[in-house]
């Protein structure tokens, strides 16, 4: 099974077929918590992308010297190291955006998606494939976050990326914190609906 996919397929897999947020339903906390604007989603997406890619590559490089019995603690410490790096970098370079994301940057250390990718992919595959897989997963997460952020920002404050596009505020409710649950739930239902309609149109099941 090793490396029978091209780099493009690996990236596309992360964004579409195994999208961390909508398909695997992992790492939901930030998707609900801070996805109030596109920018927030983008910023956390960048942080997760960074941590995912670097952790995947690190584990892939050292996969032959990691004893299987201590692999989980090794993953945790690797992720924690890279999270510390991005946490300090963001705090130093973008204090405003960092303050908005609050505790969620540090919480990346406990994201199930990153550990899962290390366990399922990076510890078996060569470095380049792990890099592309990490990139795909990170981008998939970023796209998911930005999609939710897009819906919430557009419906909540009638704007995209801070620019007023609608001129009015359709549903102020969507910008409230608790609306995150509803938005994610409704979007999942929407994707389910498309899937059902698609299958029906093809005459399957």
């Amino acid at each position: 099974m090793a490396n029978d996919k091209t780099s493009f397929q690996l990236v596309a897999n992360g964004i579409l077929a195994e999208n961390p947020i909508f398909k695997l339903a992992l790492s939901m906390c930030p998707a609900v918590g801070i996805s109030t604007t596109v920018m927030n989603g983008f910023m956390l997406g960048v942080a997760v992308l960074f941590v995912q890619v670097f952790s995947s590559v690190t584990i892939s490089v050292f996969k032959n010297v990691i004893h299987p019995r201590i692999r989980i603690p090794t993953y945790t410490l690797t992720i924690a190291t890279w999270v510390t790096v991005i946490d300090l970098t963001l705090a130093a370079t973008m204090p405003d955006a960092y303050a908005k994301m609050g505790i969620f940057v540090k919480i990346i250390v406990a994201f199930a998606i990153i550990t899962m990718r290390l366990e399922m992919f990076a510890c078996k595959e060569p470095v380049s494939a792990s890099f592309w897989d990490g990139l795909g997963m990170g981008l998939g997460f970023m796209v998911g976050m930005m999609t939710i952020g897009f819906v919430r920002e557009l419906l909540g404050s009638g704007a995209i990326l801070g620019y007023d596009v609608l001129g009015f505020k359709p549903l102020l409710f969507f910008i409230l914190p608790s609306a995150g649950f509803f938005v994610v739930g409704l979007m999942m239902a929407f994707f389910n609906y498309i899937e059902i309609v698609y299958k029906r149109s093809k005459g399957l099941k």
């Binding site: 339903a25 918590g33 945790t76 199930a112 649950f181």
Partner: protein
């Protein structure tokens, strides 16, 4: 435990909470306390001269840890017998810190300096309540959702899970506080907090796993399966991080982790109760599974918003 034996204990605890920390009250000032949001109420031993008591220049008030920032008075209201004064401030007070008040000339002689603070036990209790419901980790901080949606299916599972989480959270919270105070801070390596806290969490979970397996195999059989899930969960790691950023002391950390764990237990139990009903309900196929769970959680989150104005002590 026996419910009747607990009653006097609870009563004693309640009394302790209600006792104001009067501290040093001897002398001219009999009683002092926080009133409304921007109010400090003082009671004097004998009537004071209204002209002196209403002069703002006689008062110096500041928060104990910010002596440079003087708080500005807006009005001093005296009662009819001139024995009770209520000091109204321009801005609302941060009642969690002690305030130092000094009054000059009011009793005719020297300057009176004293501190006004809330009952410490009440403050600790408010941390517990805050973590439990007002800032519930699941419904208002949106943490630990993976495990929350994954396991809140049956009430019995939810209870076991919640108890294990509470135990682990208290253990890691206390240990992290110890490491943060005595290793990270003295050696100026607080930037390593993420690495240290996640390491401690894994270590605690591993230790509980091993100890439980040897000491109480029956308990391990019912709770052991949840321990694996605990490690990769943001609720657990959030407690030490909040503790570190708020510089909590030992008791505050303990209360925070207890409240966070209890809040998680509460959330799991509520959600599992609904899930049991949902199994029997007729749900549209597009909403089956996670979507309906998210909608229900959203409704709980809205309900928990109602706690946000709650203020105890």
């Amino acid at each position: 435990m026996n419910g009747k034996a607990l009653q006097p204990l609870l009563l004693a605890a309640l009394l302790l909470f209600l006792l104001p920390t009067a501290g040093w009250t001897a002398g001219f000032i009999i009683d002092k306390s926080f009133g409304a949001e921007n109010e400090i109420i003082l009671e004097f031993a004998k009537p004071v001269d209204p002209a002196v008591a209403k002069d703002f220049d006689n008062y110096t008030i500041y928060e104990e840890n910010d002596p440079d920032i003087r708080l500005e008075l807006e009005e001093v209201v005296l009662s009819d017998d001139n024995r009770t004064a209520s000091l109204l401030f321009k801005e609302s007070l941060n009642t969690t810190t002690a305030h130092v008040v000094s009054i000059a000339k009011v009793d005719g002689t020297a300057e009176q300096v004293f501190t006004v603070s809330k009952s410490y036990l009440g403050y600790l209790f408010s941390i517990l309540i805050s973590a439990l419901v007002i800032n519930n980790f699941v419904f208002t901080k949106y943490l630990g959702l993976c495990v929350f949606f994954g396991t809140a299916k049956r009430k019995s599972t939810a209870k076991g899970m919640g108890v294990v989480f509470t135990l682990v959270m208290v253990a890691t919270g206390v240990m992290s506080w110890f490491f943060f105070q005595f290793f990270l801070k003295p050696y100026n390596i607080t930037f390593l907090q993420i690495v240290v806290f996640i390491g401690l969490t894994s270590l605690t979970v591993q230790a509980i796993d091993t100890i439980l397996r040897k000491v109480n195999p029956i308990l391990f059989n019912s709770f052991g399966v949840f321990l694996v899930l605990v490690i990769a969960n943001c609720v657990i790691i959030a407690v030490p991080l909040i503790m570190a950023s708020n510089e909590y002391n030992f008791l505050e950390t303990f209360m925070l982790s207890l409240g966070a764990g209890g809040g998680f237990l509460l959330a799991l139990y509520l959600m599992s109760s609904v899930s049991e009903r949902l199994k029997l309900a007729k749900i549209p196929p597009t909403f089956k599974g996670l979507p309906i769970a998210f909608i229900v959680a959203g409704q709980f989150a809205m309900a928990f918003l109602g706690f946000s104005g709650l203020k105890i002590f």
